[in-house]
């Protein structure tokens, strides 16, 4: 979907571009919705469907009842409204409408007047969004100024609890090392679950999450003692850093606070840029679905990570289709590496014009190494590789510099994903540009551009 000539790009801007089918499908909360939405992505059940330049798409979908469902989508959000009773979000009607919009310009015509029922929600939503911005601007200061002393006392009490927790955790790690990691193989998850619960009590969710992950390492295959020692030592490093945080330079101290589990806030300055949406993927545990969206600022030349969360089994609300470029403000968090919040979007998104600038394999390793200076607990860092070829390496895969002997191993966790095969197919044994995360576990490819740069293809 890359637009290479200016005329098309500006034309798309005026009309608001229609998305690719993959982009629409990437918004589906689960497989069932994806299938149900695909079935509705045909003209049959739809009537009065249209879209306008502000990014609104609407339509009436005939369901099993007598009244058709009213479906509206604001693609700039994207945000959805449908009169159906589904609790899926977006519902199959919204997905079907977007698929129809993406694929059939005759069925979803541009330029029709917005029907009243759609206009009501759209204008209400836009008014609310504007109101929220003002409220956020106001409340940010008011909450802080409400009772600064009480807030300070609360923060102090929490810090004391965390300190007690970190001290206890240090003790437990020392005991573990004294008795030997070999013993940890027998004790199983129980030991770690209990310790993690203690860290939750100590209000240090960051420590708790790390401790819980230790439980899975014994018995995770050959080399587990090495991995267990590495992770134990990094928890120890975090404990010590927290206990000695007064002596750390401020940026590192902020990182330590976030890593321990104190929430960071988006208090950097807002950067307006053309942000490329490079990747979006979800991970979930028993309680929470976490969505990660990688952005790259065309002018600021930096990556930003948007996080959004949903209760277990529910998709997070924020969804940005890969391959779009937003003219928007993004505000960085302090002490959270690349994490940022998406602010105001100024124009409807357009298709991205070119991948971010990339480098050879060696540059990815360098970039990760540099990033560890600010945050030694980083598992990986976003990088763009250009001119690399996917090559089989025994059971696994490598990305190899097209000219040179360097290579990055693809992370073992990726090998079972269908996205890897898409990457291999697109490359066809020739050099491509790949965006992904590189770290000590290897490279995780997230997005690929074929040699002719004709499309942006998400791999996850």
């Amino acid at each position: 979907m890359l637009l290479t000539n200016g005329e098309t790009a500006s034309g798309a801007l005026a009309q608001g571009p229609r998305w690719a089918t993959e982009q629409v499908l990437s918004l589906a909360p689960d497989d069932a919705s994806r299938k149900a939405g695909s079935k509705l992505g045909a003209a049959g059940p739809w009537s009065t469907a249209g879209c306008d330049a502000s990014g609104a798409v609407w339509g009436l979908c005939k369901g099993s009842g007598s009244r058709p469902y009213q479906t509206v989508v604001d693609t700039t959000g994207p945000a959805y409204k449908c009169s159906c009773p589904s609790r899926k979000f977006p519902c199959k009607h919204a997905l079907g409408l977007l698929l129809l919009w993406a694929s059939d310009e005759r069925s979803v015509r541009a330029g029709d007047a917005v029907p009243d029922w759609a206009e009501e929600w759209l204008s209400g939503r836009r008014a609310r969004a504007a109101g929220q911005d003002r409220a956020a601007a106001g409340s940010g200061t008011s909450a802080r100024s409400a009772d600064p002393e009480a807030a300070g006392r609360r923060a102090e009490r929490r810090a004391e609890r965390i300190t007690a927790g970190a001290t206890e955790l240090e003790q437990r790690l020392a005991d573990l090392l004294r008795g030997g990691l070999a013993a940890a193989e027998q004790s199983g998850y129980g030991l770690w679950e209990e310790t993690a619960a203690r860290m939750v009590d100590a209000q240090a969710p960051g420590l708790a999450a790390r401790v819980r992950e230790l439980g899975a390492i014994p018995g995770s295959g050959p080399g587990w003692p090495v991995r267990l020692l590495e992770e134990c030592s990094l928890i120890h490093l975090l404990d010590s850093a927290w206990l000695g945080r007064e002596r750390l330079p401020e940026p590192l101290a902020a990182t330590v606070r976030t890593r321990v589990g104190l929430s960071s806030s988006a208090d950097g300055s807002a950067v307006r840029d053309r942000w490329l949406v490079l990747a979006q993927y979800d991970s979930s545990d028993s309680k929470l679905t976490t969505r990660r969206i990688w952005l790259y600022g065309r002018e600021s030349q930096r990556a930003a990570l948007l996080l959004s969360f949903g209760a277990a089994g529910r998709p997070p609300r924020l969804a940005l289709p890969v391959g779009l470029m937003l003219d928007a403000e993004v505000t960085a968090h302090t002490g959270s590496g690349p994490r940022a919040e998406l602010g105001e979007q100024f124009t409807p998104p357009v298709a991205i014009d070119a991948p971010p600038p990339g480098g050879p394999c060696a540059s990815a390793a360098d970039t990760y190494g540099q990033a560890l200076r600010a945050d030694p607990w980083l598992d990986s860092w976003p990088v763009t590789l250009s001119g690399v070829i996917p090559v089989r390496d025994g059971e696994g895969w490598q990305l190899v510099d097209a000219d040179g002997g360097d290579a990055l191993s693809v992370a073992p966790a990726v090998l079972a994903r269908p996205g890897l095969w898409k990457l291999v197919a697109l490359a066809g044994g020739r050099p491509v540009t790949v965006f992904g995360e590189f770290g000590h576990r290897g490279f995780v490819p997230l997005t690929v551009w074929p040699a002719d740069m004709s499309e942006t293809v998400p791999l996850i």
């Binding site: 497989d31 299938k35 695909s38 005939k62 003692p225 120890h236 030694p376 269908p418």
Partner: protein, 538 residues
Amino acid sequence: MTRTASTSPWEDLVTSALLGTDRRTPPSGPTPAGKDAPVALLDAAALHTVRRRAGLRPATRAGGSPPEPAPHDARRALPEPARRRLVQLLADRAGPAGSGGRRGTTPDLTELLPQWLAAANEHGYRAPASVLPGLLDAARARTDLRPQALEFAGPRGLWLARLNPEWKYALRGGSTGSALPAVDDAEAVRKLWEEGLFAERVALLTALRAHDAGAALALLGTTWSTERAEDRLMFLDSLRAGLSDADEPFLEQALSDRSRNVRATAAELLSALPRSALAGRMAARAASCVAIDRSGDAAAAIVVEAPHECDADMQRDGIVPAPPSGRGERSWWLGQLVEAAPLSVWPGRLGGRSAREIVALPVSDDWAEELHAAWCRAAARQRDADWSRALLGTPATPPSTGPGTTSPAERSKLLAALPDDERASWVAEFIAAHGLSEAFQLLGVCAVPWAEPLGRAVVDALEIARDAGSYPWSFSGVMGLAERCLSPEEAGRLEVLTATPDDQEDASPGAGSYWSEAFQRLVSTLRLRATMHAELTA
């Protein structure tokens, strides 16, 4: 990280950690003295860990020569809307959700994939690389998709399939077109024929047969006597395509093959050549069994004298001597003789009558069913339109009283021998007269999209079925066919049927709304097919 001859400092740390500092003192690291041994160990380990991660270098590329890039595919790129459509069809392929009786009003996308692939191949489009994995997965699950999917996937698809064991199926059978040598490269053809795997050899023989039937036969002849019996059978089977009188000497010789299956197949192929010696022998044998009764002076009738023995010559010509249980051996032999005899023998034998007149003749002593069934099989095997027409009879005649056969499967084979438009009108008239309940198999052999009279007949019959008050899922087979085969131009005419009629008194409860739903799905599927084809012709 440097390694000492024995162990590295990091390995020392791991060993101490594993055993416990109480049992093994960790190596002294750059830690200030005065710390507990475990803490000092963790300090050193953290330092090592971060240092190792920060100092990560790229791996060296895996040994061996770099892989061969995917071969160039010169076909045209797929138009963007068509590409989106394909992604959508593939995304739905895991099967319709809840494929119970009620299918909702939206098209069944999975069923449209074969059509889409066939159309894309006809236009000569190249498969976009990003859909290849999805395409190969889809064809892995559905064997009926494979030929079309693999043709569309093209050389890059095969290149990719070689890298993933799950797609091994793509490399089997006759689909490895790109791996075969050019059929006119005699040297390469001979080499592959002599050294290739069985699947490659079958593919080669098939390709060569399509290009130059005689050359294929000659190639097969070079190694015929040394092939294994089951391989001989497969090779012989591939001669079915492009069968001609030139194959007769080879097939005649194969009648003396050691393997019974090879002999039977050779006989079957020969009987499809009306000028062959075998066909002549069969004609003589069959003719001696069937004659016009001249004894009475009443209307002419056929008399049948079934063979009394199945001699060695008959067996050599492919007649199976032992009947299946429950059949008399004489009628069993007769059926095989008539089936293998060229139909052209009968007009001369039976008083210069045409096929239609012969079929209309009465047959003495209850032989009619046996004789007509054998003629049906012969007409289907010899693809004889005249005889097929005669044996099918007029479509309005109820199947049970007509000539020939009552079995829809046999009738659909006879229909296949008729020209496209004649076939469509025959089935249309059949449906108009008898409704849809026995039409499913007959519809299956009609050319897609259905010709106008046929489409109209099906729609009318569906409307009648609705008005009769039955449920639409009694017709789900025909409905499914209609969704795939009706011409998209019928969509407009069908629109009026999508309204929910008032339930009639004698109708099944709620049938009206189910019919409305079924017709909506039919209309939306037709519209989608029209859009699909428009996207591909862009």
